[in-house]
């Protein structure tokens, strides 16, 4: 009797498990394609055509390896990355990492609001209207605790990122050339192209994503038993990230590059698409940018405030009241207001801001990665689930390459002066 009943439930349960777990990787992957990412991919496509598409392949591998490590750490320990770093790395390193994370959080959120402002301008809405309204909505959404519902809605909306596929195809790209440039990448070594490569990798693998990934895994209560589902989810998430990036680059490469149009912002790309791919493509592009920007503008300040509080032992979480978690709400609101405020300053120096937040990301990423590699190889923390040889090889390899890239990012601007 009992058996029959449980069996019938089993199918539903398997589906439920699947949907529950098909989460962290896909959410993280979707947040990854934020305004900063879209801008960088557009710039790369417009300036170098199909030339830099090959960078997505190593980015994909590194992203996959890093996120798998995050998921494994979250599953085994049930602790956030911020917790683990604080408990094992000492307070000074923790302080430096989170100071960096706070600044890059503000910088990145500013980029998101730039995305909101830019995309709405395509539809003819002034930034002095769109940015305050969006800021207020995002704030209410989180503080009033309807964030979980919002996350789902955003996830559905983030499917609109696939509209870039439409934009790209409308641009009638040369598929043969795309194939050739991926198989035989021609790397022009100039300071400018190097900087672009660094930007592409840096925006795909942002440091705060590692914290975000791990806490999402914990929140979903995943277990080692579900490990295979989790890996599948991560792969899907990484594929989404890379596929969207690919089509943005193709869209801009097919239309803007042959005509020699240079752009500075993602908004320019949306505007510039109009004459070549039609009004619809331009609006589709702008809509995708708008959704991606709001999605990340909701999650970034929230996540940043949360991780800082987690590391320093302040109460945090949107289920807490203002008085219970004052530091958390002050931080969250502060990040939101500062970032939105910067955008509203007439003639704000947006390009230096996005450059500097990329620089902070660049320095922070190897530090976070090294901490992760040390943590995940500790038997005391991970038990039998420490890294295998291959994961360690790719992990440390990525660290070395990223350190080299970040060092290059820091040194190149000095040399080019």
């Amino acid at each position: 009797m009992t058996g029959v009943r449980i069996n019938r439930k089993n199918i539903f349960r398997k589906l439920a498990v699947f949907f529950m777990i098909l989460g962290p990787g896909i959410i993280t992957g979707s947040v990854d394609n934020d305004a900063g990412g879209i801008t960088t991919y557009s710039l790369a496509g417009a300036q170098y055509g199909y030339g830099l598409i090959w960078t997505l392949i190593p980015s994909f591998v590194v992203l996959l390896v890093i996120q798998e490590m995050n998921a494994r750490m979250g599953i085994v320990t049930g602790k956030g990355l911020a917790d683990l770093i604080r408990e094992n790395a000492g307070i000074k390193i923790t302080f430096l990492i989170f100071l960096g994370l706070l600044f890059s959080g503000i910088g990145n959120t500013t980029t998101e609001f730039a995305g909101v402002a830019g995309s709405m301008e395509v539809f003819g809405v002034s930034k002095y209207l769109s940015v305050p309204v969006v800021t207020f909505l995002v704030w209410i959404l989180v503080v009033k605790g309807t964030y979980k519902i919002a996350e789902r809605i955003f996830l559905v909306f983030s499917l609109s990122l696939l509209t870039y596929v439409v934009s790209a195809i409308m641009g009638k790209p040369d598929w043969h050339m795309i194939g050739t440039s991926i198989i035989h990448p021609k790397v022009e070594v100039t300071t400018k192209s190097m900087a672009m490569v660094i930007g592409l990798v840096g925006t795909t693998i942002a440091p705060w994503m590692q914290f975000y990934m791990q806490s999402t895994v914990i929140e979903k209560g995943l277990k080692m038993k579900n490990y295979n589902y989790t890996v599948a989810d991560i792969i899907v998430g990484c594929v989404i990230t890379v596929v969207v990036a690919f089509f943005i680059m193709v869209a801009c490469a097919a239309t803007l590059h042959p005509n020699g149009i240079q752009i500075n912002e993602a908004k320019d790309a949306a505007m510039a698409l109009k004459p070549f791919a039609g009004n619809l493509a331009s609006q589709v592009f702008a809509f995708g940018l708008f959704i991606a920007s709001i999605f990340s503008a909701t999650i970034l300040p929230l996540a940043t405030a949360f991780f800082v509080c987690e590391a320093f032992g302040f109460e945090a979480g949107i289920d807490k009241k203002w008085d219970e978690a004052k530091e958390f709400y002050v931080l969250y609101t502060g990040i939101l207001i500062i970032s939105a405020g910067i955008i509203l300053i007439p003639k704000a120096p947006l390009i230096p801001i996005s450059l500097w937040s990329q620089v902070i990301n660049g320095i922070l990423l190897p530090v976070v990665l090294v901490s992760m590699m040390i943590l995940i190889n500790k038997k005391k923390i991970m038990g039998t689930y420490v890294n295998g040889k291959i994961t360690n090889f790719i992990g440390w390899g990525s660290v070395v390459i990223l350190v080299a890239l970040s060092a290059a990012l820091l040194i190149l601007p000095l040399l080019s002066r």
């Binding site: 009797m1 009992t2 058996g3 009943r5 449980i6 069996n7 439930k9 089993n10 085994v76 320990t77 049930g78 602790k79 917790d83 604080r86 408990e87 000492g90 307070i91 000074k92 302080f95 209560g221 277990k223 320093f312 032992g313 109460e315 005391k380």
Partner: protein
């Protein structure tokens, strides 16, 4: 010389200890404190008994009795008169302050939540060195990072002072004993003062390893209460990480309906394993409940209820209650049954208390009671509960036989969420 010196743990870790002749002996790596108190409020429970010293390349544990911390011109000095190595048993019974307390999460017993330790406040008296309190404030954070002075100077311009936040050592409970062979039940003794709901909240916030070790240190009654309060995800984690026999013992102490809810979420094999391990009587009840579909009244009813024959006197019933010592929820509503367990009436504790001892239950019961059918949809409960203001509704089958009761505690969350969704519409 002053009679006492207060200092912070961070102030002496990494410092050299000096011998009587003024020579450096070794670097202080950690302090060991007594964790097995002989009784309540034993001042020795916060006594520093040992120190981990790095001498040359060797690290060893030495008795702290011969050490003194003194402050001279705002400088902390650790003086040592002789080096006495500690026995293994003494080390195993102690707790390391840096390893297990500093930067770790501990339980604030008054605030009933987890806090992170930024520093530890200590004192040296004539009788020894003691832990006074843990520092969880921003002040401690800045001191550890080493930027207290510049920040204080800037803030003093605006007349802002940095808030300090201490919790007395008696009011905290360390959690992380991962690397010691301590007897856990004794180490977590202070947690027993917490309410099961608070303990459950804390367990949910802990890492996987710690939550399992704290849970397994609880006695079965407390463990059952805590398990009942945990979120389903934490319940599953605890059940899957403990041995089957231990879990079965805890489940036996829980109401059958709660057990059924948990087993429903587990995998079939595991649920079957647990049911087989449980005593036959408890597992039978659970199996019966498991047969009900999720949306039927039967799935959320409890089978722990009290029913009496109508011919019993008030005196008899009170006697039986005293004997059986039922859980509070079982007293929300008391039932009267005929032969075949047919429900014919209900009465409350109030009816019982105000009646004369010799009165028969038939006289005080409400006949034709409001009831639910076990195969009715759960959505019917809300209306009945609110319409008749009942704390517990009897559940009967199609033959009018009493099967169990639905307690308001178990449905209150569903009721609230239902109201909320209605409001949204």
């Amino acid at each position: 010389m002053t009679s006492f010196t207060t200092f912070y743990l961070s102030g002496i870790i990494g410092k050299e200890a000096f011998g009587a002749d003024g020579d450096a002996i070794g670097i202080i790596k950690d302090l060991l404190i007594n964790t097995v108190p002989s009784g309540q409020n034993d001042p020795n429970s916060q006594l520093v008994i040992g120190v981990k010293l790095k001498i040359g390349k060797e690290t060893g544990y030495y008795s702290f009795n011969s050490f003194r911390v003194v402050k001279a011109r705002e400088m902390l000095n650790v003086a040592c008169s002789s080096l006495l190595e500690l026995k293994k048993s003494e080390i195993d019974n102690g707790m390391l302050l840096v390893e297990n307390i500093l930067d770790k999460q501990i339980v604030d017993l008054n605030g009933r939540k987890l806090v992170r330790v930024n520093d530890v406040r200590m004192v040296t008296l004539a009788t020894g060195t003691f832990v006074i309190a843990v520092d969880i404030g921003i002040d401690g954070l800045l001191r550890r990072i080493g930027i207290t002075m510049p920040i204080k100077r800037v803030l003093s311009l605006f007349k802002i002072s940095i808030p300090t936040k201490y919790i007395l050592w008696d009011d905290v409970q360390a959690i992380d004993f991962s690397n010691l062979n301590i007897k856990l039940s004794k180490s977590y003794a202070k947690l027993h003062t917490l309410h099961p709901s608070d303990l459950a909240d804390i367990l949910e916030d802990l890492g996987k390893k710690s939550s399992t070790s704290v849970f397994s240190a609880l006695d079965e009654e407390k463990a059952a209460d805590v398990l009942e309060e945990l979120e389903i995800r934490a319940q599953i984690h605890i059940i899957e990480s403990l041995p089957v026999d231990k879990v079965a013992d805890v489940l036996e102490k829980m109401p059958a309906d709660e057990v059924a809810d948990i087993l429903d979420e587990l995998e079939d094999d595991k649920a079957e394993l647990l049911l087989n391990e449980m005593e036959a009587e408890s597992s039978q009840e659970v199996r019966e409940l498991l047969e009900y579909e999720d949306d039927l009244v039967g799935s959320i009813m409890t089978t722990d209820y009290m029913s009496f024959s109508g011919t019993k006197t008030v005196e008899d019933v009170l006697k039986e209650l005293r004997l059986r010592k039922p859980e509070p929820a079982e007293l929300y509503n008391l039932f009267v049954t005929e032969k075949d367990e047919k429900l014919i009436g209900t009465f409350t504790l109030r009816d019982l208390v105000v009646a004369e001892p010799g009165t028969e239950i038939n006289q005080i019961m409400k006949s034709e009671p409001v009831s639910l059918y076990d195969d009715q949809k759960t959505s019917a409960i809300a209306e009945i509960v609110s319409k008749y203001n009942l704390l517990a509704v009897p559940v009967i089958d199609q033959e009018d036989q009493l099967q169990g009761m639905v307690v308001v505690d178990d449905v209150v969350e569903d009721l609230m969420s239902e109201r909320r969704t209605k409001k949204r519409k």
